[in-house]
């Protein structure tokens, strides 16, 4: 069940619309010549699986924890407060 999502929903920005300046950039891309349609090289900058670091848990310092809490927009009795979650 696919539902078409408009750019304002996709971007979580009220009233967002496509911009003329940006559309002109996209037109230039559509009209540009590409050498072929193969996208074989796309991942050459990606990190190889062998190079991935191990998962390690590093405990944050007390100072780091206190700053993280300070940044939360709303806190109540040690919990992050969020608005009513909607059900869809």
């Amino acid at each position: 069940m696919s539902k078409i999502m408009t750019v304002d929903i996709l971007s979580s920005i009220k009233g967002a619309k496509e911009s003329k300046a940006v559309s002109k950039l996209f037109e230039a891309i559509k009209n540009a010549n590409t050498s072929n349609n193969s996208f074989n090289n796309l991942n050459k900058s990606a990190v190889s699986l062998e190079d991935l670091r191990d998962d390690v848990v590093i405990n944050s310092s007390a100072l780091e924890k206190s700053i993280i809490k300070e940044n939360f927009p709303k806190e109540k009795k040690g919990y992050l407060v969020v608005n009513r979650v909607i059900e869809e």
């Binding site: 009220k14 967002a16 619309k17 300046a21 996209f26 891309i29 540009a32 927009p73 608005n83």
Partner: protein, 454 residues
């Protein structure tokens, strides 16, 4: 300082005062308490007779997109106006470990979204040479602080030209190193595949020292690699025999006639020194700018999706969670940031991604392949930094497309992930010196040579 003609405390205090009084809108926040404490330690060390390192006690600035534990890191945005860094970026930590003293979080375009440092809640950054003109962007505050001697060096961030263009507009050096040479950990992400950390300074020697300190593999940024130290000896004598330039950049109608003439004269001076100068073919400016912005917008739409007032940022309550997200983002993001997020979501959405985003990735591969071929023919590629001189404050905001096109000469090298330096010579907004990947040393070497002949 070592000869005790000046104390570190007095040097730092003098710079802090100059920053506080300056009218160029370069300061988002001063790190005065931290700076004075560190200065006191340096003075105590000198007093004890201990040797001090090259960067110890040297005052520097930090673009306000880097995490420094306990300091405000706003990205010049309303959304993160009160956000405090919980940790310190790797590149900045390395400078702190070397004894350099951070003075200021510097004004810039919000989230790096801009080429003029006008897209900021802290007021447009004014050019160091003519305050009626823009400071350039997005690292405008950093370039102006260096040009005005408020900082000895500043750390900017360059995604599509954000170090090189403001360096050019303010007549200082600015280096975008090879992608991956310096860790991006703790740099607020704009477009992760081209984001680079780099220094702005008044001398090649300062650039060399700072790059050496910040470089190296970092487990927290898996795109980093181990690079060789650049020694002063290795950049002292020019070994470049062939340079190339993109014919279409210079023959374009969009270039300012004076910049064109100055650039061609600079090439002539280089030829006179026995260096071969070759014309090269390259992609047209429209394709370069469109490819860069398409990919950068897609990446920034993804990177900024976490800024929703729940995970991060200044929350504005709505009727429910979704409403809260969207009001928070609508009210707190600037028009330019919203334009880029929407553009990014457009290209990533079904129906658009094949003909725009995937085509953009394909073009990027072709651009990189073009560079690989070029560097089989030449050692260095030279280019003007910008097609035009800095615009008046206010003009760029009126015409976003013109602002995007003003990045025509810088974005290609970003897509190629190449080391590129703005040197404040040759044209009124400088010359860009580019080498193949991981040849940052050659870039500095050629800059040393140009310094003496232009």
């Amino acid at each position: 300082m070592v000869s005790k003609e000046i104390t570190c405390m007095s040097l730092i205090q003098e710079k802090l005062n100059a920053l506080k009084e300056n009218t160029h809108n370069t300061v988002n926040s001063l790190l005065d308490k931290m700076a004075l404490e560190l200065a006191e330690r340096v003075d105590a060390k000198i007093e004890s007779g201990a040797a001090i390192g090259l960067l110890e006690g040297i005052p520097f600035g930090i673009k306000d997109v880097y995490m420094v534990q306990g300091t405000y890191t706003t990205a010049s945005s309303q959304l993160l106006k009160n956000y405090k860094s919980a940790y310190t970026a790797t590149a900045i930590q390395k400078l702190l470990d070397a004894g350099a003293i951070p003075l200021v979080k510097e004004n810039c375009d919000s989230f790096g979204h801009g080429s003029s440092s006008e897209n900021t809640i802290f007021g447009a950054v004014k050019n160091a040479i003519n305050p009626n003109l823009v400071g350039g962007g997005s690292s405008g505050g950093s370039a102006v602080n260096v040009a005005k001697d408020y900082t000895v060096f500043s750390i900017g961030g360059d995604t599509g030209g954000s170090i090189r263009q403001p360096a050019g507009y303010n007549n200082v050096y600015g280096l975008k190193p090879t992608y991956g040479r310096i860790s991006r950990f703790g740099l607020m992400a704009y477009a992760s595949s081209t984001d680079c950390v780099g220094p702005i300074a008044k001398s090649i020697e300062d650039i060399r020292i700072v790059v050496n300190v910040m470089s190296g593999r970092d487990i927290k940024d898996q795109t980093t690699y181990e690079s060789k130290i650049i020694t002063d000896g290795s950049i002292a004598k020019n070994q470049v025999k062939t340079v190339g330039y993109f014919k279409n950049f210079i023959e374009s109608d969009a270039i300012n006639p004076e910049i064109k003439e100055d650039f061609l004269n600079a090439l002539e001076r280089i030829r006179e020194k026995g260096i071969q100068v070759k014309e090269l073919d390259f992609f047209d400016s429209d394709t370069l700018v469109s490819t860069y912005y398409t990919l950068a917008m897609a990446e920034t739409a993804s990177n900024l999706s976490r800024l929703d007032g729940t995970n991060y940022g200044n929350r504005i309550e709505g009727e429910n969670l979704k409403d809260t997200y969207s009001i928070t983002r609508s009210e707190n993001f600037s028009e330019e940031t919203k334009r880029r997020i929407v553009g990014g979501n457009q290209v990533l959405s079904q129906g658009f991604s094949d003909e725009i985003y995937l085509k953009g990735l394909n073009l990027r591969d072709q651009i990189a392949a073009n560079f690989e071929n070029d560097f089989k023919e030449v050692d260095i590629i030279l280019s003007p930094v910008t097609p035009n001189t800095p615009p008046k404050i206010g003009d760029s905001l009126k015409d976003p497309l013109a602002m995007y096109l003003s990045d025509a000469y810088t974005v290609g090298f970003s897509l190629g992930q190449l080391p590129t330096l703005t040197a404040p010579q040759g044209t009124s907004t400088g010359i860009q010196i580019t080498a193949a990947k991981d040849n940052d040393e050659k870039v500095l070497q050629f800059a040393n040579f140009l310094k003496d002949i232009l």
